[in-house]
């Protein structure tokens, strides 16, 4: 007899995610993923100035802050035919890289590590042995026996205080924890160090965008100005600060994050055969080196892999209405033409229509509609998006640097290439791409300095800033790769106002409910087969779910072309 487990709230994520799973003979046999919060973004955007859309959509998510702003300015620029200056592309790339480095490290240590690291076990570690292990995997300086001993004393006092705070009621002592006490202590040490480190790397956003979270973007380029002879603009001091922040970021990634990732992974190789889920992977690609209009020269290539066949990469076109479509047959919305339809974002249509149980409830009616997330499909296929998809598409596209880091990691762990299609593969891919991004960010930085040296200080293309220069109607799509995966915005501009705005975000691809054909999306599919030793404490379920780095606030939205709230929209 199957046993229904409900995990709500899923913690150590952004947003509100609920999972209902069936467990039989110690394994998950069925799974339902539900987004339980909605805000109504796209409706709010209707009628507004397209140049403001980045600020609205940026607030879709404060964890992967900036990514929606980037997708949004690109969408508007695509619609209006604006090409940003090379320096603006570089500034955006640097902000993109800073976001990846901060976000992925925070995910690994603060959102994911406690699935693998037993904090309480660290109390039993031998500081001297801990130091030996730490020094054997990295030359990171904070590794003396005294350092670990002091940390352990602090941790002991914390636990003995009886107030466990964020560690209260964790799964400590669970049989699925496999790390030696000393490795757990290293994990705790780096949890705290990473917490302090992450506030530094985001200062790159502060320099270019004025603040973090939610730095400022600008349609047509970047709002900051370059003037190496003025105190009020990007000058040698500001640029040097960016350079030193990139160094600090790269050092931590190379000496702490990657060695920790490999050390932890080496104890959990069995997770290289668990949590694979879907066999299709989608990446829009990003980090232009010849401008956003030239995807062939993105650092992260664009493409689709079907059926785990790494010998072929299929092209992706965001403007083709037969490719990306959204379905709502299992979501709390309704379509005028019938709930079985799929709609391209430019033609989308939605009405909020909650048909779930009245709160408080124990279970969702998973046989009917059960989520505020819509269900996107690419040519009818369910796709996984995220770091693993990016690495696989780059690998299959023959990108040498990617093949090299992926190959080296597989060799170090002594696992086959098929281990990539798993919970562990997803977590490893995130680390590997962070390492690549850290290197690429230095290339972008050097290029920016070279351009300035050569006299190019332009950061903004203002020719089409004034609404009077715009056509009466325009449509655009802007694509990027959020840390959590493929992200795109679609806009329809009419009479210089937003007629229509749609976001299809990574967690919508991954966390959505089933489609009309009954196909599961990535979370649900990956959970099937995940072991659960004790249904009361489903630690293993969290491992697979956290390997996706769920981020729900932006996944849930509504768009309404002819909606019931339309008459309340005030024209600005």
């Amino acid at each position: 007899m199957a046993n229904r487990i409900v995990v709500d709230p899923i913690t150590r994520i952004e947003g509100h995610l609920r999972l209902e799973v069936e467990v039989k003979d110690g394994k998950i046999v069925d799974a339902y993923s539900s987004g339980t919060m909605v805000r109504g973004f796209e409706l709010i955007l209707k009628g507004r100035d397209p140049r403001d859309a980045w600020a609205f959509t940026e607030r879709a998510c404060g964890v992967c802050t900036t990514v929606h702003a980037l997708a949004s300015v690109r969408t508007v620029e695509d619609a209006l035919g604006i090409t940003v200056p090379p320096n603006a592309e570089l500034v955006r790339n640097l902000m993109f890289c800073a976001q990846y480095m901060q976000d992925h490290v925070v995910h690994f240590y603060h959102l994911h590590a406690l699935d693998w690291v037993d904090v309480v076990s660290a109390l039993k570690a031998d500081p001297k042995k801990t130091s030996e292990i730490a020094q054997s995997i990295s030359n990171w300086p904070k590794s003396s026996p005294g350092y670990f001993s002091d940390l352990q004393k602090r941790l002991t006092a914390f636990v003995e205080s009886g107030q466990l705070g964020i560690f209260a009621n964790g799964y400590w002592g669970h049989s699925a924890y496999k790390l030696p006490a000393e490795v757990n202590l290293i994990g705790v040490a780096h949890y705290l160090e990473a917490l302090e480190w992450q506030k530094e790397v985001v200062k790159i956003h502060t320099i270019f965008g004025g603040k973090n979270p939610h730095p400022n973007y600008l349609v047509g380029g970047a709002a900051c100005s370059i003037n190496i002879d003025d105190a009020n603009a990007l000058n040698a001091e500001r640029l040097a600060k960016v350079g030193s922040l990139l160094e600090i970021a790269a050092e931590f990634i190379e000496k702490v994050y990657i060695p920790d990732l490999m050390a932890v992974a080496s104890f959990y190789k069995d997770w290289g055969a668990i949590g694979g889920g879907l066999s299709n992977y989608l990446a829009y690609g990003d980090l232009p080196t010849h401008g956003y209009g030239d995807p062939e020269h993105f650092k992260f290539p664009r493409g689709v892999i079907l059926g785990r066949d790494l010998s072929k990469v299929h092209p992706v076109d965001g403007k083709n209405d037969a490719e990306i479509q959204e379905f709502i047959s299992r979501s709390w919305y309704e379509y005028g033409s019938g709930d079985g339809d799929g709609k391209h974002p430019w033609k989308g249509e939605t009405k909020l229509k909650y048909t779930g149980p009245k709160p408080p409830y124990d279970h969702l009616d998973v046989d009917k509609k059960y989520s505020w997330l819509k269900t996107p499909r690419w040519k009818g296929n369910a796709m996984e998006v995220g770091p693993l998809s990016r690495m696989l598409v780059a690998y299959a596209s023959g990108r040498e640097e990617v093949k090299e880091v992926v190959g080296a990691a597989l060799k170090q762990l002594d696992v086959p290439v098929t281990a990539l299609f798993s919970t562990l593969g997803r977590t490893a891919a995130r680390g590997l791409e962070t390492k690549l991004v850290a290197g690429w960010s230095k290339e972008f930085y050097s290029q920016l300095l070279a351009n300035i040296k050569n006299g190019d200080t332009r950061l903004w293309a203002g020719e089409k800033w004034a609404p009077e220069t715009w056509p009466a109607e325009a449509k655009g799509v802007g694509m990027t790769e959020a840390p959590r995966g493929a992200l795109a915005h679609w806009i329809v501009i009419k009479d210089r106002k937003i007629e229509n705005y749609q976001l299809v975000v990574p967690s919508t691809w991954n966390a959505s409910p089933r489609d009309p054909k009954g196909q599961m999306s990535a979370y649900e599919s990956a959970l099937i087969g995940t072991p659960v030793a004790n249904p009361e404490v489903p630690l293993e379920l969290l491992r697979t779910i956290h390997s996706f780095d769920p981020c729900l606030a932006c996944a849930v939205h509504l768009y309404d072309e002819k909606g019931r709230y339309l008459n309340q929209v005030q024209v600005l």
């Binding site: 002091d150 209260a168 965008g209």
Partner: protein
């Protein structure tokens, strides 16, 4: 409080912190909270004797930018806050436990520390359709809020979502998003607006509550005066350019490269109360205006509907902008002497030539406000 709970000084001792370092720590905690040196003794005593404050942090309709901002705090750093200063017993973003175990941790704190726990809320609460637009553990955000607020010692509404509804409450507010102070009765609610609030403002608010065991002085909108009594415009380092009539006409133009005032490209600094010009962002690195983009007014109620962002506030030239800001100021109990401000403006306008040419006023800093 738990009998075993260590005081903050005891915690510090365990960590090998010397008394001297501890006193220095008390000093900057006091400084962070805007306390005068004469009151330092009270800070030391408070931290000597207090066990860690139980805290529960809720997430409703939000994007988690407030949590992200909080972990950017440089003083105190967040690991010191969560390990040594408070006991963060419930927070969906960071806590180890999930689902049932998370809910048990929450209820254990609410029961054990009835009337003593601090409640932090990130996000607005949707009141439309019986609350079905935000449910956690099968319960509506509204239900959860009411239950937890009942026995909280005080409530802090983090960010614009919880303070004024923020983006989901922007027209047409499809889900009936409502700020916390409109839903809770009989409890002190401290509004800490901003999208998000500055990290050190968030940490400073917690430090204030922890150190002095009392609510900071609030303005008429429930915001701590220490952080929200000044307009961004009045504390902006580009203010002298405004007063001298030196403006950026379009982004990236020659005037932008000289750091002139952004008013004409749509800065909301004149109607926005926040600490961006004083504390600045991310340990003082910059703030929006310093990085060339106007303030979008993210700490003010209804700022999303006060747009478009790139349209300037009032016709230029003229001082209508001053009046608008001061009207808002009066509503908040922060009365500004219009005469003085206007006088200062005209004074600096006369100094336009000097400022443009970069000649420093040898007597006093431009824009100081008095002659």
């Amino acid at each position: 409080m738990s009998e075993k709970a260590l005081t903050i000084w005891e915690q510090a001792q365990v960590r090998g912190v010397s008394r001297r370092d501890f006193l220095r720590f008390c000093g900057w905690m006091a400084a962070a909270a805007g306390i005068e040196t004469s009151a330092l003794g009270a800070v030391v005593k408070a931290l000597d004797t207090k066990p860690r404050l139980p805290v529960v942090w809720f997430h409703f309709q939000e994007c988690t930018c407030c949590s992200e901002s909080f972990i950017r705090s440089s003083h105190p750093i967040v690991s010191d806050i969560v390990l040594d200063k408070i006991s963060l017993d419930y927070t969906e973003t960071l806590q180890a436990a999930a689902g049932k175990q998370a809910e048990e941790a929450l209820h254990a704190t609410m029961t054990k520390y009835k009337g003593q726990y601090l409640m932090l809320v990130e996000g607005s609460v949707p009141t439309g359709e019986g609350g079905i637009y935000c449910c956690i553990a099968g319960r509506s955000a509204m239900d959860i809020l009411q239950e937890a607020a009942k026995d909280a010692k005080a409530i802090v509404a983090w960010g614009s979502c919880a303070s004024n509804g923020c983006i989901q409450a922007a027209n047409p507010n499809p889900t009936g998003a409502t700020p916390i102070h409109k839903l809770v009765e009989g409890k002190p609610v401290i509004n800490v607006p901003g999208c998000p609030p500055i990290a050190e403002v968030m940490a400073g608010t917690v430090v204030h509550l922890l150190t002095f065991d009392r609510i900071p002085h609030l303005d008429g909108l429930g915001r701590p005066k220490a952080f929200y009594s000044r307009r961004v415009h009045d504390t902006c380092y580009r203010r002298p350019n405004y007063d001298a009539g030196l403006f950026v006409d379009s982004f990236d133009d020659e005037n932008a490269k000289r750091g002139y005032c952004l008013y004409k490209v749509g800065c909301r600094g004149p109607v926005t109360y926040n600490s961006c010009g004083i504390i600045r962002w991310n340990d003082g690195v910059s703030y929006p205006i310093q990085s060339g983009h106007g303030c979008i007014g993210c700490s003010e109620a209804k700022f999303w509907d006060n747009g478009p962002f790139y349209q300037h506030l009032a016709a230029f030239p003229g001082f209508g902008i001053e009046k608008t800001a001061d009207d808002i100021g009066v509503a908040m109990g922060a009365v500004t002497a219009v005469g003085i401000a206007a006088h200062a403006v005209t004074t600096n306008f006369r100094k336009r030539k000097q400022i443009k040419e970069g000649i420093r006023d040898s007597e006093k800093a431009p824009g100081e406000g008095k002659e």
